[in-house]
Subunit: 299 residues, 2 copies
Amino acid sequence: MAKRHDAVRTELVAVVVAVAEGAPRVLTTSGYPLQLPAGPLRDSHRSMQAGLRAWVEDQTGLRLGYVEQLYTFADRDRARDGSERMISVSYLALAWPTDVDVERWVSWYDLFPWEDQRGYGAAVATLVPHLRAWAGEEDTERREVRCRVTFALDGRDWLPELALQRYEVLYEAGLVRESPDWRGVLGPEVTGPWMLHDHRRIVATGIGRLRAKIQYRPVVFELMPPEFTLGQLQACVEAIAGQHVHKQNFRRIVEQQRLVEETGGTSSETGGRPARLFRFRREILDERAAGGTKLPRSR
Amino acid sequence: MAKRHDAVRTELVAVVVAVAEGAPRVLTTSGYPLQLPAGPLRDSHRSMQAGLRAWVEDQTGLRLGYVEQLYTFADRDRARDGSERMISVSYLALAWPTDVDVERWVSWYDLFPWEDQRGYGAAVATLVPHLRAWAGEEDTERREVRCRVTFALDGRDWLPELALQRYEVLYEAGLVRESPDWRGVLGPEVTGPWMLHDHRRIVATGIGRLRAKIQYRPVVFELMPPEFTLGQLQACVEAIAGQHVHKQNFRRIVEQQRLVEETGGTSSETGGRPARLFRFRREILDERAAGGTKLPRSR
DNA sequence: ACAAAAGTGTTCGTCTTACACCCATGC
DNA sequence: GCATGGGTGTAAGACGAACACTTTTGT
């Protein structure tokens, strides 16, 4: 097969996120290792977004709503089989998981256990000594600073939106499984499972983007059902951020930004006093280009 | 020539920004119409960034410093000659213009006259009646809201980072020159000149990104010489934002974020009392992943 | 002396954070 | 009745916007 000069194949990759059962989840297709919905860009596709929607629907049956471009990867050493160069254009999509095979929705925190700061941060505690060791090896100064910032060592604040940077540190430190024959010291309950090609990095990119965006744009609502209680909304934000937020402040922010309106109904699902139901005021997407759901710090 | 199925060509496009003589400028290559440095991704390129740097240096002699990916374009109707589909991966680069042919650095505000809000906003005043007319034509409600938000009508705040959205509105309203034979009512002194393909849209994307980023990341300094006065720094921020900022508050923010340190020297360039010289504390790029140069509103 | 730009101190108001407390339901 | 989550008021404090004013140079 003659290899054409400078030829490329273009692949579309989707990070489809939904929140279910207390965890944000990404949609995978069947097969081992875990992989994201993806497929080549066809001449028949009107646009890359259209192609992406088609591939996701083909492979998972899910019709996408909100979609935005994430990043385009093309490093030469990503070549998988020595043939043509591969360009991957990745997209972030938000959905809520309905009528979909639950098996395929993998929790963020199974993929990246250290990203969930709502418990006691056990994964990070396990990782830290290995990170310190890696930092001590060489280029010490810069490595230590990176670890301190990304993993909130020495009393720093944990910044949820640094998911990609954390993954990169772990990758460089060799603490993350990157091939089927990888043999590291730590098990997958701490480092997470292997994924196809660089799909895991792509997911980390998506997590970082979503966590950053949720702070200044009202995108959470793309992950919510049409009606919801403020408690559910808060739980959704906390799941994505991997952090607890302050209840009263959260509610005040949502209110005063006039992001939601009452439906009149109530819900009495999770014990305790029944909660009022709200719906997203879609109008404000037009009214205001800025403004989102800020995260007040700590609980 | 047989057309291969699903074949694509990949092009790298650079929006190189520098601030000189009171205006932010983009680097163009010679030729008419105006065009950005660009070239195909080669097998020999290690990565797209490396390829981009090579093309820019080839075509303009400039060695790039700071570079980040902007957006990837691939709509089928962008096809230029009916042959293979073209994918364009665009990048934003920041530089300061030294040893470079000044002719090639085109002011943002020649390309997008309405984006400069530091004067009396004459361009916007001219555009508004045409925008209102366009909104009245059809889909009135949505169009009016878009105009109000993007162009700050009816007493709204002007948001500098909506540069792309403004361009899109003008494009849809047919107020912007998009081909050599375009004949609109308004002259280029208000609507700006035509650029090759969708290069003008790509510049607008870059402007929006830079204006947004400057508010939460210390990227201004990539546009400054090694030593500068606070006045110069402020002028640079104002040039990019297209807005004046409050002097004292600007200085306080820069100080308290410890973004700069004194060099000890002073500069007495622009009349008046000589100003102290500062340099960027590059360390903070590591120290803090967050925090940038906030823009206090108005003068 | 005056223009022009650098540089400082202080007030005012809003937005953030935090604490304390009451309410309505199920078991 | 008490556990559980829903829901509210208000005070302390951080931060941004704005104003007024002083300092140091060139002409």
